[in-house]
Symmetry: C2
Subunit: 324 residues, 2 copies
């Protein structure tokens, strides 16, 4: 069987996760990693090339997995690369997804490529479960809880506070809220009330602890209005206990099958490594993208548009026999 | 917008669930219920007809939901009705699904219909999650736990024991096993060790309690080898506390994203009414079947073959905007 040939664009945490994850899929192979940095300065396990050379691989890559950031990289890179390659991205700016889709769809249809966007777990698997739960139980309420997990954005925000040397911020859903939803009880939900923020930080020498704390809890959007717990520790402890990138969360729908009867539909993830799991999702969707391209089903696709069977390396017959 | 017209074949618990559930989907309408019994003897809320009249509705039904049993009804009914109608069934005899698929696929392709088989939650949503979890994390182990829930088959088996007047049997997963899996610990799993059986029964007058209990716990396949708890109660208590049909369960994959890192993928259902929820799933797949037929994507389809977006009444644009 001919393997599906994958290219990785961008070698941050996600790109590293894809490189590692591909080892678990014998039907896929890695052609190369493409970077804007000096390729020979990357410590990759696989061949690395300058992104400028990408076009030379037009005929030796079936699908590119775009591992850049959603803010600056993907909006520009994805439509450009979809002119030449089938692509998978993890674009996660929820509000801008419709625009990103339209842009990609046009390029992909014109150039006969497949562009799978916004994979990963949210958007991605969480979206899939929100859709399925709501389609099955139109009457009901869906709740999304994020965490416990490390938030890169919030950790960065804390690190920018004057007097902070280093920090890790975890988003933690309030257990009693989650339990109430699972227990079929009504809850009043808003994101701020449903989550708390847990901060571990190292102070700069001579920094004023109370000023630092005040600056954090009063930070608009990020912390204001949230229950926030701040713990001061030393750099060694931070290095030892807070270097991982765990994350996860839960999507729960409380649906009514009739006026009398409730059904709880629940999907949850608990991930030691957020980027590795996100990478694993992109890999399965890269497999799907290659198949869709083979079937000439060109254009932009989301997780809503792709039949689940396309994600698996097994044949439809085997899937029916083993997993149905 | 023209509504999709649904016919229900069979008016047991599942058929009643479909009738009730359709009220939540304004894009669907119920044309009629078709029964082998005398139609005027059914207490339906909707028009009921003899199943012999079904052919007269060839042009006024878009999709039939087959609500008969998997043992005797579906294997015969489904291939016959798929000659004329698009169909959805809940065929749940796992071992025979491949045969049922091939039979339906042939009929449906020859007659240009769509036949969706084995929907519901297991097979159905549980299968879907087993597939997605394994496709994303090829390295790992998937565990399925059933219950807590009423098992109709086991309740029937207990009722057939001499000296038993009435009974309800619940399948209950062992919490410590489920918790271990969720906690990323290795477990030795087999179905018998992972579940216990909880029986509530009413004795016939003069029955020998210890003989009845012995007959139950030694029943091969059903109870032998299971941890079984039997409670004797009176008919009034059974009627009051054990008339519902709750069920549910959990699919969990312990996957490795790398050798070091684990990810827990979890899907769970907790249902006040098993038949109502199963009905709700068939309704969403009936919507999908109508769309596939419109697109001339004829043949047999399983939950693996259908893109999730087809399940929802909303447009792809709205889904991307609201749920992605």
């Amino acid at each position: 069987m001919k393997k599906t040939r994958i290219g990785i664009v961008g070698y941050g945490n996600l790109g590293k996760g894809v490189e590692a994850g591909l080892k678990h899929s014998p039907d896929l192979e890695l052609t190369g990693i493409f970077t804007r940095r000096q390729p020979d300065q990357l410590e990759t396990l696989s061949p690395a090339y300058s992104i400028d050379k990408l076009i030379d691989f037009k005929n030796s890559i079936d699908v590119l997995i775009l591992c850049g950031g959603s803010q600056k990289d993907i909006p520009l890179q994805a439509p450009e690369l979809a002119q030449t390659f089938n692509t998978v991205d993890t674009y996660d700016n929820h509000n801008e997804i419709p625009v990103h889709f339209e842009r990609l769809d046009k390029v992909a249809k014109e150039n006969k490529t497949v562009a799978v966007l916004s994979t990963g777990w949210d958007p991605g698997l969480f979206s899939l479960n929100r859709l399925i739960a709501e389609a099955i139980m139109p009457k009901g309420e869906t709740y999304t809880f994020w965490g416990p997990g490390l938030s890169q954005g919030h950790s960065d925000a804390v690190r920018r506070v004057k007097g902070v040397k280093n920090a890790a911020q975890y988003t933690v859903p309030k257990k009693e809220r989650v339990d109430k939803v699972k227990d079929k009880q009504p809850i009043h939900y808003n994101k701020k009330e449903a989550h708390k923020r847990v901060v571990y930080l190292v102070l700069e020498e001579g920094a004023d602890e109370s000023k630092v704390k005040e600056a954090i809890i009063s930070m608009p959007d990020y912390f204001q209005g949230y229950e926030t717990k701040i713990t001061i520790l030393d750099q060694d402890t931070l290095d030892k206990d807070h270097q991982g990138m765990p994350h996860g969360g839960t999507v729960i729908r409380q649906g009514k099958t009739t006026d009398e009867n409730t059904a709880i539909y629940q999907f949850g993830l608990d991930l030691d490594s957020n980027p590795e799991f996100t990478a694993a999702v992109t890999i399965a969707y890269a497999r799907a993208a290659a198949r869709l391209a083979k079937e000439r089903q060109y254009g932009a696709k989301t997780v809503f548009d792709i039949a689940p069977g396309y994600l698996s390396p097994e044949s439809p017959e085997d899937l029916r026999r083993k997993l149905l």
